[in-house]
Symmetry: C2
C-alpha cells in the first residue's frame, strides 16, 4: 500500500484493520507465537504504526478481547426479541451465539482460549463479558418463569445457577463445534436446546426434578 492511501484513511478505519489482522493472528497462532511483524503485514501497515496506534502487543491483545467480547454480546442481544415466548427467545439467542462463534472462529479462540491462557489481566477482561452474558440469561430465565407461573418457586440463587449452567454449556459446545468438522451453528443450538429446554420449562412451571 502506498503512502497516499495511508494518509487518506481515517485512524478509526485503520485501527479496525489492525484489530482484524490481530484477531486472526492471535486466534490462529496463539498469543505467544503471534508476531507484531506478521500482524502489521496482514493489516498492510508498518509495524511502527501499529505501535503508535495500539501501544504494545499486550494492549493490542486487550483491544482485541474488548472488541470481540462486545461484538459477541451484541450479536446475542440483537438475536433475541424479548416479546416472543421463552423457548423461542432461548432458541434465537443460542442460534445467534453459535452463529457468531462459527463465523468468527478466531475471535472465539481469542475469547475462550487465548484470553484465559495468558495471564490474569486478559482473563479478567473476558470475565467481565461473561458476567454480562450471565446477567442477560438470568433476566431471560426470570422473565420466562414469571410468564409461565405467576408466583414461580424459583429462588434467585437457583436462577443464577441455571444461568451459569447454560452459559458454561454454551461455551463448551462452541469450542467443540468449532473443533468438530460438520457441526453447524444450528445443530449446536439444537443440541443445547434439547439438553436444557425440557428441564428449564419444568422448573419454570414449578415441576422440578426430585432427588432419589
Amino acid at each position: 500500500m502506498g503512502t497516499v492511501k495511508t494518509k487518506r484513511m481515517p485512524r478509526a478505519v485503520r485501527e479496525q484493520q489492525m484489530l482484524d489482522a490481530a484477531v486472526r493472528t492471535f486466534g490462529q497462532r496463539g498469543y505467544m507465537a503471534a508476531s507484531m511483524d506478521e500482524i502489521a503485514e496482514l493489516a498492510g501497515v508498518s509495524k511502527p504504526l501499529v505501535y503508535l496506534y495500539l501501544n504494545s502487543k499486550e494492549d493490542l491483545f486487550a483491544a482485541c478481547i474488548r472488541r470481540e467480547a462486545g461484538a459477541l454480546t451484541e450479536a446475542v442481544r440483537a438475536g433475541v426479541d424479548r416479546e416472543l415466548p421463552a423457548d423461542r427467545q432461548l432458541w434465537d439467542g443460542l442460534r445467534a451465539f453459535f452463529t457468531y462463534t462459527a463465523e468468527h472462529p478466531d475471535g472465539w479462540s481469542v475469547l475462550h482460549i487465548q484470553a484465559r491462557t495468558h495471564g490474569e489481566r486478559f482473563a479478567s477482561e473476558v470475565a467481565a463479558m461473561r458476567e454480562e452474558i450471565v446477567a442477560f440469561v438470568t433476566q431471560l430465565i426470570v422473565a420466562a418463569a414469571r410468564a409461565a407461573h405467576r408466583d414461580p418457586d424459583l429462588a434467585e440463587g437457583e436462577v443464577a445457577g441455571l444461568a451459569e449452567a447454560l452459559v458454561g454449556a454454551a461455551e463448551s459446545l462452541a469450542a467443540w463445534a468449532n473443533a468438530t468438522p460438520g457441526v453447524t451453528a444450528r445443530q449446536a443450538a439444537a443440541t443445547l436446546m434439547n439438553f436444557s429446554w425440557a428441564g428449564l420449562a419444568n422448573l419454570m412451571e414449578g415441576r422440578p426434578w426430585s432427588a432419589p
Copy 2:
C-alpha cells in the same frame, strides 16, 4: 521441623506434603504470586529440598495439576455405580463432582483457573483430564440411551455434544458454587440435574425438543 524427622520420612510422603502445600498456595495466591519460599515453609521443608524433589516451579505446578486432575476424575468414577438407573448414575456422579470441588476449592482453582491462565503447557495438561471426563460422560449417556430405547435415535455426534454441554455446565457451576456463599454441593448437583435431566431423558426416549 528438625533434620531427624526430615530424614525419617519416606520421599513419597514428603512429596505429597509438598504438593499439598503447593496446591493450597497456587490455588489461593495464583500461580504468578505464589513463591517457592512460601510453599517450602508451608510444607515444613527447606526450599532446596522442594527443588531437589520437584525440579522447578513449573514442574511443581504441572505435578499439582496432574495429581488434582487424577483425584477429581477418580472421585467421579468412584461415585457412580454403573448398575443403577441412568438418572441415579447422573445424580451420583454430579454429587461426587460437586462434593470434590467444594471440599478441594484450591485444587479446583488450580484446575479450572490457574492451569488455564498460565500458558499452553499447563492448559494442555488440564485438557487431557477434561477429555477423559467427557469420554466417561459420553459412555454414560450412550448406555442410558440404550437402556431407555432399544434403538435410540441419538447419533454419536449428538451424544458427544451433550457430554460437552454437561461437562461445560458442571465446570461453570462448580466455579460459581465455590464463589457463592451458602451454595452446597448437593444444591449445585440438584440445579444441574434439574437443568439437564428432563431434556436428556426425553432424548434418550426418542422425544427431542422440536425447533419452532
